[in-house]
Amino acid sequence: MSDETSSRTPAVARPGLARRMGSLSDRALAWVFIGPTIFLLLAINIFPLIWTIRLSLTNYRANRTNADLQWVGLRNYERILTDSDIWNSMQATAHFLIWTLVLQVLIGFALAYLINKKFKGNDLWTTIIVLPMMLSPAVVGNFWTFLYQPQIGLFNYVIAFLSGTDPSSFSMIGDVNLAPWAIVIVDTWMWTPFVMLICLAGLRSIPDSIYEAAECDRASSWRQFWTITIPMALPFLMLAILFRGIENFKMFDLVVQLTGGGPGNVTELTSINLKREAFEKWRTGFASAYAVILFVTVFGLASIYVKALNKVKQR
């Protein structure tokens, strides 16, 4: 009985729905389909953005909802742009971003190039290499603090073995000069496999016939690399840089676990600094202005980069 009912219901409903839909214009039908998505986009992305911009012009503090809200105009923006600590934070982020991208692209591409050559155990090595990116950043941060431990850390022992220094004579995460590199090393260790996989996809998309034609023309391996491999893999490389750049601009968990932003402020990246302002100091208005500045920066840079990427793809 129930089967009969359930099988009959859609049969009755379908012509009705079709009739109703059929009476809609194409434009109206398009709105029916994209309407829910636009609504969700407005609710989840656009409204919070507008609300954040509004808050950034006030002295609002989320921990003092009873307090009077005052409009402060652009004062929060002015304070941020003239705050030397925030500029230090920007510098720390730039250092982290640039060096992780450089190292991950170089090592990732080199690994992809090697893995792309057919050899015994190729699949096994690929699996081993991608293991770090399967781990949680919080876990990675935690266990690297042990690896960097001057008294028992494996990293210090390896460096000591290679250089002949005392392992406890240096602290990777406690020294102002070494800590910025300590976070670069860990992020590179964790995310180079991701870049490698994207590069590998790029390398495998290059048809063999192009190399065969180059062989016929007696092009050297070096020339093939620079005139075939690099140009054809470049869109993939640029995509990897875009993904890693956006990810590392908002890097938080790994660095918090490793250094907590210290020593001093040397590894306090903008995302950590922003979190402190918003949820530790509870300067919500100030933090909103900070977030807007970061958003505009990332959005602007990413837009320029995507345009460049499209141009490269069109070549």
Binding site: A62, N66, S169, G174, V176, T259, G262, P263, E280, K281
Partner: protein, 440 residues
């Protein structure tokens, strides 16, 4: 203030009719995840049996405790009916209406604040400070003190060497100068075939660690938060010559005498360093002490305890820790929550609390003649609680704290600038915050 008034009226109404709630409730108590919390779970079983209420617990590890719980309070969340919140939260929680004011309830139930250690009442319950406005019952007394390896100190060869070098016995230090001598004496020393270090001190950057540690020293060197005659007047007090000397001392102690890799250590790192036999001296809150007595490596009489030593002018203060227990104003089970506080305040419950590892603040427990001998650390706890000072408890405490963390860590650990610059910068940061608050 409107909501605070309403909350007070609600508390008064509850207190007036309070004689044990008839309806069995599921009460949630929120606190940090640490050993005393486990003891409280055990202790609370008695309350469950007597009241018929069921107790649930929400414990958050210390590094995330403030973030998590202040988010909960600020959003008006109903997760917690009872909150054992940090002492510094009291100002914000009172002014923003997160806690129920307890004066009328205390009056109705005959709970007297005079029955609790004075410093804990000021530190955990009162807002504004030194006024009879109570927002919490002192629940867990805590203070920064020191532990030392008594078994190492008692070794004749070390005693002889120390006496020859410093001209006095190797014993628990009375001054910070003596403490540094001892730390230097042990730094990089071979003991039982293992290299050991002088002292473990607080250096943590993320939450409150280095502030708790450095302030613990600075107070005895002459640091004051403000002009006693003019509130929020900080120049010359926060950055006084004594305070500068205190911060320089803390950095010197960090540089000379801590184990390698101690750039981001707080309570748990201190416990690990001491229990593993790495350090001769350890700065830590008193709550850690019961754990040392039962430890296989450092228990059984191997650990000694001493209160914070005196500064160069003989001033002796210590950083207050600990918490009070409050009823969350957003709770729909406030009558049952108040019932819990009433039960918890009873002298026999407080005595049991101490036995189980909870640091009771009730004078009937701590001033009992048997108290000093009840545990090896009991006298040190009493001595320490008599000299406490606490960080700002203003509604803006989090901003004030984060500025302090940044200034202290930048100078002590990163080695940037001078102590004078760090403290001058702190005056500037704090002034800006109080200006934003309209207090300056």
């Amino acid at each position: 203030m409107k909501s605070i008034g309403m909350v007070s009226v609600a508390a008064a109404a509850l207190a007036a009719g309070f004689s044990g709630s008839a309806k069995a409730e599921d009460l949630t108590l929120c606190w940090a995840a640490w050993d005393p919390a486990n003891a409280l779970v055990e202790l609370s079983k008695e309350f469950e049996a007597k009241s018929g209420h069921t107790m649930k617990f929400e414990f958050v590890p210390w590094p995330n405790f403030a973030d998590r719980m202040l988010n909960e309070l600020n959003s008006g969340g109903q997760l917690c009916d009872l909150m054992i919140g940090d002492s510094q939260w009291i100002g914000g929680s009172a002014e923003n209406g997160h806690y129920v004011k307890l004066n009328d309830f205390f009056d109705a139930e005959g709970i007297k604040m005079d029955d609790f250690i004075d410093a804990t009442v000021v530190g955990y319950s009162e807002w504004p400070k030194n006024t009879p406005n109570y927002w919490a019952l002192p629940a867990f007394g805590d203070v920064v003190g020191w532990t030392y390896r008594k078994d190492w100190f008692e070794r004749p060869e070390l005693q002889a060497e120390f006496k020859e070098k410093y001209g006095r016995d190797l014993a628990a230090p009375k001054t910070f100068a003596e403490l540094k001598d001892i730390a230097e004496f042990f730094q990089n020393r071979e003991i039982d075939g293992k290299t050991v270090y002088g002292a473990s001190i607080y250096t943590e950057r993320g939450s409150e660690g280095i502030t708790m540690g450095a302030m613990d020293v600075l107070y005895s060197f002459g640091f004051k938060y403000e002009n006693p005659d003019k509130p929020y007047d900080m120049d010359g007090y926060v950055n006084s010559p004594g305070a500068v000397a205190g911060l320089e001392y803390y950095k010197a102690l960090y540089d000379c005498c801590t184990p390698p890799g101690s750039s981001n250590g707080y309570m748990s790192e201190g416990i690990d360093a001491f229990k593993s036999g790495q350090v001769a001296l350890q700065m830590n809150f008193a709550f850690t002490w019961p754990g040392f007595e039962s430890d296989a490596n450092v228990g059984g009489g191997k650990t000694g305890y001493f209160a914070n030593p005196a500064g160069p002018d003989g001033d002796q203060f210590a950083q207050l820790g600990g918490q009070g227990i409050s009823v969350v104003s957003y709770s729909s089970k406030q009558d049952a929550a108040l019932e819990y506080i009433k039960w918890f305040a009873q002298p026999e419950v407080q005595a049991k609390w101490w036995e189980m590892g909870g640091f009771s603040c009730l004078k009937a427990v701590t001033l009992d003649p048997s108290f000093p001998a009840s545990q090896p650390y009991a006298q040190t706890f009493l001595d320490s609680m008599a000299i406490v000072k606490d960080f700002w408890a203003e509604p803006s405490y989090a901003t004030l704290l984060q500025d302090t963390q940044r200034r202290f860590h930048d100078y002590v650990v990163a080695g940037n600038g001078t102590a004078q610059e760090a403290l001058d910068g702190l005056v500037s940061d704090w002034t800006e915050t109080f200006e934003d608050d309209g207090k300056l």
